[in-house]
């Protein structure tokens, strides 16, 4: 069966050998052709040598998630074949270097013990040799086409004695594999050329070298293999200005748009990339003048949150960006910002946890923690983005909420968002608005009270350095001036005042910023979720709707204050409810039950460190609809 413009592509190889760049090359080549692209990177907490891979989904319709299967597997090493061959769909292809074909399983040093055992059993059970070709034979038997491409030979043929060194050769070979992929699906090599020019911008020699190698590989496929691959890609016309953007970039761009002028950070995966990107773009244009963000690499995450808070007190829009272990260290600082009503933004990229966990893997395991982090009780706003567009606009909102309600805001993201890339209509600053709340930037007079009791609990704010605006802060309970008090009545008033702000926020924030509803809430089944599963759910929904399944998806974006009334109303009416989350216990389902009293009928969780795929959602939802699903379903896809 021939398919046009719909492809699941995967490249795998050793960390540090250029797998990402190759994937980026392929993705951009597709994107330049007007196709929609979604890419997701998987890698070890390691600098060189461990297995990494990159999945790219390409389509002529928007795509937002990875697939459980692969159409074309590009293997930069034997390990990739061992680990991913079984994901390749019948009718799909495996590209590989024939010189690796006889690599025995035992020589693939970096393989995980469990994986090695499983592959061993698999091959043994089938009487196949425990080598890469054993795997390939098996694949072929399952209807997969094999494409051996002798990269070295082609390179030598092209360069003769001047063939590049091993490390560089690997990188070029990866680019050649991309070219071979293009050849397979009949995609115009001109677009690959454009991608090369874009990626190696300005580096003429590199472009030329890569291009020639790519051409050779492209031709090689044409010459040596039948043109019978059932999937083709063709450029289409895009009637919009589109970017190919990664999650951490989208967030960083949102921060810059919001006017974030100071970011502190301590390196940590997968949050670091955002800060590095910001630092690389520390100087930029503002209307009529130059703008800048001061990015500070600090000594630890305690310094990160406290320094950002200090900057916020001085009037800067300030943020810090981190992941689980770092956030764990920020908890005390969060409480201080809470009691002192300081608008500070914490961007939290969740990752595989607990503890050091799986530093470069995906999870949504920190929801409950961020809601309750810090001893005692103080208001905070927590919002979770579900895709790259939301990363951008929510990053702006985070600062608005922080300043309007004078409290710490946690912008909840995760590894999957951070390291996925997507083609997307260019972000529109016109849709962004900056709300600095009750901020007095000039003299306010003798009797200024930073924490004056007001109707809304929000007191007009000054920043350090404002004439006539002197205030005091303390982590202790305080009076309206900000001086320490242990008076039991003042205490009650101050607690009420702070709590009030969250009530106001719950009332003022429009529903559209709290919840997204896709489909008809009166459907057979309501899928409830938050954060990054959105993409896979939406992709699955399309397929389900195409089959006329009655399913609705409610995405919750505001997690504190939780729109409990709205959720209750939606869920009460539902016939069946399922919550989908990337964690062990179904934290969001618990939260919803706590605040609405409504329990889920089903829970779909995944906690193996990999994001949920479209197919997993599709399958498990279908099981629920068919009535064959258990209450709790654990998804397991991913190498």
């Amino acid at each position: 069966m021939h398919r046009k413009n719909s492809l699941a592509w995967l490249i795998g190889g050793a960390q540090g050998s250029g797998v990402d760049s190759a994937a980026n090359l392929f993705a951009k080549a597709c994107a330049f052709g007007g196709l929609y692209v979604y890419g997701q990177r998987e890698y070890y907490s390691n600098i060189m040598g461990e297995h990494s891979y990159y999945q790219v989904t390409v389509s002529d319709r928007p795509v937002r998630s990875v697939r459980s299967y692969t159409d074309i597997l590009v293997s930069a090493d034997a390990e990739t074949v061992f680990l991913h061959a079984l994901e390749v769909k019948p009718g799909g292809a495996i590209l590989y270097d024939p010189k690796l074909a006889e690599t025995p399983l035992s020589k693939v040093a970096a393989l995980e013990h469990r994986a090695r055992e499983d592959i061993h059993s698999y091959l043994q059970a089938r009487g196949l040799p425990e080598t890469m070709s054993g795997m390939l034979h098996d694949a072929q038997a399952r209807g997969i086409q094999l494409y051996p491409v002798p990269y070295d030979e082609l390179l030598h043929q092209m360069m003769g004695e001047k063939a590049p060194q091993l490390a560089q050769a690997k990188r070029i070979a990866n680019a050649m594999a991309v070219a071979a992929s293009c050849a397979l699906v009949g995609y115009d090599i001109k677009l690959l050329e454009r991608a090369l020019e874009d990626i190696f911008f300005g580096k003429k020699k590199v472009i030329e070298l890569n291009l020639r190698a790519c051409e050779l590989a492209y031709e090689y496929i044409g010459k040596h293999f039948a043109r019978d691959f059932p999937i083709t890609l063709e450029p289409i016309v895009a009637n919009e200005s589109r970017i190919y953007v990664t999650g951490y970039q989208a967030t960083a761009l949102g921060k810059l748009t919001a006017g974030c002028s100071m970011q502190t950070y301590y390196p940590i995966s997968p949050a670091t990339d955002e800060s590095v990107y910001l630092e690389a773009h520390q100087i930029f244009e503002r209307r009529g003048e130059q703008g800048a963000i001061v990015v500070v690499q600090v000594e630890d995450e305690i310094a990160a949150i406290t320094m950002a808070t200090g900057a916020a007190l001085a009037g800067a829009r300030a943020a810090t960006s981190t992941s689980g272990p770092g956030f764990s260290l920020m908890v005390e600082g969060l409480g201080w910002a809470g009691i002192n009503e300081v608008p500070v933004v914490i961007t939290l990229y969740q990752r595989g946890s607990p503890s050091t966990g799986m530093p470069t893997r995906h999870e949504q395991g920190d929801l409950r923690f961020v809601l309750h982090a810090g001893h005692g009780e103080f208001p905070r706003i927590v919002l979770a983005s579900g895709d790259l567009e939301e990363c951008f606009y929510d990053a702006i909102r985070a600062f608005n909420y922080a300043e309007r309600y004078q409290l710490p805001v946690i912008h909840l993201l995760d590894k999957s968002l951070a390291s996925s890339s997507q083609t997307h209509p260019a972000f529109d600053p016109q849709r962004a608005h900056i709300d600095r709340g009750l901020l007095n930037s000039s003299a306010v007079g003798e009797s200024y009270k930073r924490f004056a009791y007001t109707e809304t609990g929000i007191s007009p704010r000054t920043v350090l350095g404002t004439p006539g605006g002197i205030f005091w802060n303390t982590g202790d309970e305080h009076d309206e001036l900000g001086h320490i008090t242990e008076d039991p009545i003042e205490r009650i008033r101050m607690m009420d005042k702070r709590a009030k702000k969250l009530e106001i926020a719950a009332r003022e924030i429009p529903l559209s910023e709290k919840i997204n509803i896709f489909g008809d809430p009166a459907s057979e089944l309501i899928i409830l979720s938050w954060g990054s599963p959105k993409g896979a759910i939406l992709d699955a929904l399309e397929a389900l709707w195409a089959e006329k399944r009655s399913v609705c998806f409610v995405q919750c974006r505001l997690l504190s204050p939780l729109p409990s009334d709205d959720l209750r109303k939606l869920l009460e009416r539902a016939k069946r409810r399922v919550c989908i989350e990337n964690n062990y216990s179904g934290q969001f389902a618990g939260l919803v039950r706590e605040q609405t009293g409504i329990a889920m009928d089903h829970l779909i969780v995944k906690f193996n460190g990999r994001p949920i795929t479209m197919d997993e959602v599709y399958q498990s939802v279908k099981e629920i609809l068919l009535g064959t699903a258990p209450r709790r379903m654990v998804l397991t896809h991913g190498a």
């Binding site: 895009a238 520390q282 930029f284 800048a292 406290t306 916020a312 009037g315 972000f427 600053p429 005091w472």
Partner: protein, 324 residues
């Protein structure tokens, strides 16, 4: 019209113990601010947690009483965001060199233009007198059930190792001396650290006012106490390291500094022990990256127009990501 210390006082009830050295430090800060004639709203006092941590509430400037051990990063954040502020950090020895030691070391590496005043009383005052990191090994103050089991850390020495470019010591009861030191510390362009010997009459009965002033060792002839504390400047000690000095000259300076830093017990040096003008301040380092940092630091960026529209030229940034 010049300011008076009175202008820097608040009506907040002070609840330090009678005779606490913190009073001397508080007064000295207020006098220094008055003598420098600083506008109160341009000054921010940051503090950690402890008896000393209450200081900002008694001073009529912006006052930020932060978390235990975290005074330096908070202060750093504010100063980075708005370099026009005069930023002073104060805190206890437990705060600064116990729980806060990591920040102490790493702040030294920045040489940001702030002043850090350490209330060195040898104890954790507010939690009832446990040994602080500066208390010497084997010393038993009246609040300790057993002699101190840890070595004391030398704040001056540690400050040097960390990279502070202005290192001084003063004494809470010698207000005049302390005022002079604070003024110079504020004037210094870089991180200034002042180790202030601060008697805690409630818990530390070893390093008392009497001990510092040598009441236990009177001159047999005059009957006068021979103070332990003395001023290095009176001995012609010159703390200045300036551009152009040879390596040998600098090495000699450091050796003298270390000699002084190690003195304790019978003779305790006070004064400015190091003033190194050869190290660029953090602000100067930022200017290398962001030339207009001084004019529009983070706190003064015009981030939106009157309609609340972002001023950022996003299109330019999107350029490099464009695919169609």
């Amino acid at each position: 019209m010049a300011r008076k210390p009175q202008d820097f006082k608040t009506p907040v009830h002070n609840n330090w113990c009678p005779g606490c050295g913190d009073f001397g430090i508080l007064n000295a800060v207020q006098m220094a601010l008055a003598e420098l004639d600083l506008e109160p709203h341009r000054v921010v006092i940051f503090s950690g947690i402890g008896c000393s941590g209450k200081t900002p509430h008694y001073i009529n400037t912006y006052g930020i009483h932060t978390l235990h051990g975290r005074v330096l990063p908070y202060a750093t954040g504010a100063k980075l965001a708005n370099p026009d502020l005069t930023v002073i950090a104060v805190g206890g020895d437990g705060d600064g060199l116990g729980i806060g030691a990591g920040h102490f070391v790493n702040a030294g590496r920045r040489n940001l233009d702030i002043t850090y005043i350490l209330h060195n009383n040898g104890v954790y005052g507010l939690t009832k007198g446990q040994a602080s990191p500066t208390l010497k090994l084997g010393v038993q103050t009246k609040s300790l059930p057993q002699p101190n089991i840890n070595q004391g850390v030398n704040p001056l020495f540690l400050a040097l190792a960390a990279g502070y470019t202005f290192i001084a010591r003063s004494y809470a009861y010698d207000t005049r001396h302390l005022v002079t030191i604070i003024k110079q510390a504020i004037a210094h362009n870089g991180s200034a650290f002042i180790d202030v010997l601060q008697p805690c009459p409630t818990y530390n009965d070893i390093n008392t006012r009497e001990w510092y002033s040598g009441e236990d060792r009177k001159d047999p002839q005059t009957g006068r106490a021979i103070p332990r504390v003395y001023k290095v400047e009176e001995q012609g000690y010159d703390p200045l390291i300036k551009p152009g000095m040879s390596d040998a000259e600098i090495a000699a300076k450091l050796t003298r500094f270390i000699e002084k830093a190690l003195e304790w017990g019978e003779r305790i040096p006070l004064g400015i022990l190091l003033k190194n003008e050869t190290v660029p301040s953090y602000e100067e380092r930022i200017l290398e990256r962001i030339p207009f940092y001084r004019e529009t630091p983070p706190a003064r960026q015009r981030i939106s127009d009157a309609q609340g529209r972002p001023t950022l030229d996003l299109a330019k940034l999107l350029e490099e990501l464009k695919v169609t």
